[in-house]
Amino acid sequence: MMNNFNKILKNKPLIVLIATSAAIAFLNTRFLSWSNILTVLRQTSINAIIATGMTFAILIGGIDLSVGSVLGLCGAIAATMVSSGTNVVLAVLTALVLGTAIGYLNGTLITTGGLQPFIATLGTVTLLRGAILVFTQGRPISTGNTPSSEYFSEIGTGFLGPIPIPVYIMILVFIVAYYILNHTRIGRYIYATGSNEEATMYSGIKTARVKRFVYAISGMMAALAGILLTARLGSAQPTSGAGYELDAIAAVVLGGTSMAGGIGTIGGTAIGALIIGVLNNALNLMKVSSYYQDVAKGIVILIAVLLDRKQKSSR
């Protein structure tokens, strides 16, 4: 019992989450209402899913800047297919496969091409944003009014019992990611590659393969987020997803994952994404102007990360 309590005390991201939530609840009573909590969870789900993929990329000591564009492109593809009456399952699978393939391509640029992850994904994020504009002609693509589009919009807006469907999807993503990282060989290789790539390679592990897998996962997660976002809004915007990589990276870092790779957990990322979700929600509830929202968010992120850094260096 005491032990568990100590564990919580050591978990700085969790403390930041609880403290922020408590402070907000004190300032605004609506914050803790059931409907608002569900709103926070639903709003968090998109970033949380991207951040899960980003956790993989950062754990191997890399980064994936392309997620925002992958989200936008895969969302636009799904919207186009659904609006033309294509089967929902097929549309969703296509978007997921496309996202995974783009991620795999990122991985190949980094491994076979020998590019820095930052540079490779900086290239793809720009390239793909252009591709979205070409594909959409710069106009939003509505998911339309076909029978498929109704099913499709359920993914983003529907409920299963009292809980929104995106929240289930987010939780499922967390669980699968947790199992991959903690209970499979590839998960172990991801941590090993991030900690000491050379030693991992010397141990007989194809680290290039590990990296391609990781970027493919990150692409797939971005595509999934794109599907959820498009389904929720009923249309794919040509600019959708732009800048999302920053919130995802923030969630991962807030969750205690080291940018140098090798250290970090999915649980941490979940908490990190929730911190950002709670902040966004609270600043809206309190009617803070959107200009100040970013300032406030940035300050909280810096404080949280500084606290974490202090704790780590004092060991």
Binding site: Y179, H183, T184, R185, G187, R188, Y189, Y191, A192, S195, N196, E198, A199, T200, M201, Y202, S203, G204, I205, K206, G262, I263
Partner: protein, 497 residues
């Protein structure tokens, strides 16, 4: 009459209780070249690092021009005119030659602006002195290693160094560049500079040095004028110790040939051929730059190489460590921290890293239970001292980290185990335990290749010894004919030259 410039007297140095220098005295004479020789680990570098202020001495005194000095950092030694040129040159590759020479000492105008023209003119002056025909504005990365060496010397001259220490300066030079360097050294001598010349290449020492100081195991063996010495005498001074430690080599029945390497060549090694029998321990000796590690890594699939490798008479192709491990050839690296272990992971995760597929649980997940059982088994078998399987590797001692690294390889169940410097940086007790393990593997029928710079260790453990010199095999020695002298003779490439 020789005039002493630097005199280091009765220097002692401990590293956390381990004596690495014992009562060493060392002189540098004006206008002359002093060679500093000894085996790897004899204490040459430590002694020079003490002189230049990188390390603090534990005991002893240093006199510069009869004045007692004690440098706390390299800046202090430089300002008194002592410069060191490291084996791996300390130049900023993306800056120009001139900028490198005056790095941190750029001539500035009253407005604190760097006077680029003056800087490059001054740099040109020093380059001319050394006969280096390069534009001082050329980037250092665009000139050869030999010329970079001269830039380092120009830098030393520009700070008005009286003493220039050169650590293995010819390691990366072509014969022509070496000649050039020797000309420069003799010019420096004539102008009254003193040089300390550290090298394994004995013929170079006879070419340019005036005196020789020999260190062995952190002790001074002697200082002699070069005219009183010959190569054999120096070698004898370098290695002439008794086998002080006990090497528990055991005789085992050797089986048939298991591994045969034929004409292996790549950018590191040339025409390497050798074979290994079942149950045999092949020691691989050589000095720094003999490319022993590179050979082992080429066999293990890290570096591509031409040539053939046969396992049990069958030709095999190894393109990666994974291929190698699948053929039953495991490699324990010489550089634990860089590529042997993962310090941020725990003992269990390190030991099982190469063989995770052995621990399948339900749904293809890794069975941590099986992993745990197996890790504990290896921890006990190899007496790894750890608080448990969850202990992070960074908290283990060097010897225990080494055992974890070996355990990781063993778990892949190899037929051939390559151990690269298995006892480097481990204490005496752990050394003995590692030797015992090697013998145990041997008696279980495993074949072992052991690369080591510790010659007594090679003599004590090996059934047969392969000596390398600059990427080639310079000879094989049977157990009966191998002595420290015969190994060292082959290692310095005496007959090859």
């Amino acid at each position: 009459m020789k005039k002493i410039v630097v005199s280091m007297q009765h220097i002692n140095k401990d590293f956390s209780g381990v004596k690495v220098l014992k009562d060493v005295s060392f002189n540098i004479y004006k206008g002359s070249v002093m060679a500093l020789v000894g085996e790897n680990g004899a204490g040459k570098s430590t002694l020079m690092k003490i002189l230049t202020g990188v390390y603090l001495k534990t005991q002893g005194e240093i006199f510069l021009d009869n004045e007692s000095v004690n440098f706390s950092d390299t800046g202090a030694s430089q300002s008194k005119g002592i410069a060191i040129i490291h084996q791996e040159l300390n130049l900023v590759k993306d800056l120009s030659i001139g900028e490198n020479i005056f790095l941190g000492r750029e001539p500035v105008s009253t407005g604190k602006r760097i006077m680029w023209n003056k800087l490059h003119e001054d740099a040109g002056y020093w380059l001319d002195k050394l006969g280096l025909k390069e534009d001082p504005r050329e980037l250092v990365k665009n000139i050869s290693v030999g010329k970079q060496q001269l830039v380092e010397i120009a830098k030393a001259l520009s700070i008005d160094a009286k003493v220039i220490i050169m650590d293995e300066p010819t390691g990366a030079l072509t014969p022509a560049e070496t000649d050039k360097l020797f000309h420069v050294i003799s010019d420096l001598k004539k102008s009254g500079k003193s040089i300390v010349y550290i090298s394994h290449r004995l013929h170079e020492i006879f070419e340019i040095c005036d005196d020789v100081t020999v260190l062995r195991d952190g002790e001074l063996i002697g200082e002699e004028e070069i005219t009183n010495l010959d190569e054999d005498k120096i070698i004898e001074m370098m290695v002439g110790r008794k086998l002080s430690e006990q090497y528990p080599r055991i005789e085992t029945e050797q089986g048939e040939e298991i591994l045969k390497v034929e004409n292996l060549s790549n950018q590191f090694v040339k025409d390497i051929s050798f074979s290994l029998k079942k149950g045999e321990t092949l020691g691989v000796a050589g000095l720094m730059g003999s490319e022993r590690t590179e050979l082992m890594r080429s066999i293990y699939g890290i570096y591509p190489a031409k040539g053939s490798v046969y396992l049990n008479g069958e030709k095999i192709k190894v393109n990666s460590p994974l291929d190698s491990l699948r053929h039953g050839i495991a490699y324990v690296t010489e550089d634990r921290k860089a590529n042997g272990i993962i310090t941020g992971m725990n003992v269990r995760e390190n030991i099982t890293l190469s063989s995770l597929e052995l621990f399948k649980g339900p749904l293809g997940f890794v069975s941590k239970g099986k992993e745990e059982t197996s890790s504990i088994e290896y921890i006990e078998k190899m007496s790894i001292k750890t608080s448990g399987t969850k202990q992070m590797l960074k908290f283990l001692s060097g010897g225990n980290q080494q055992k974890v690294s070996i355990a990781k390889s063993l778990m892949t169940n190899p037929k051939i185990l390559i151990l690269d410097e298995p006892t480097r940086g481990v204490d005496v007790g752990a050394k003995k335990e590692i030797y015992d393990l090697i013998n145990k593997f041997k008696s279980e029928g495993m074949s072992i290749i052991m690369v080591s710079s510790d010659i007594p260790e090679v003599l004590g453990i090996s059934d047969r010894i392969m000596v390398m010199h600059e990427g080639r095999v310079s000879g094989f020695l049977g157990r009966d004919e191998a002595t420290q002298e015969s190994i060292m003779t082959l290692a310095v490439g005496k007959d090859v030259i």
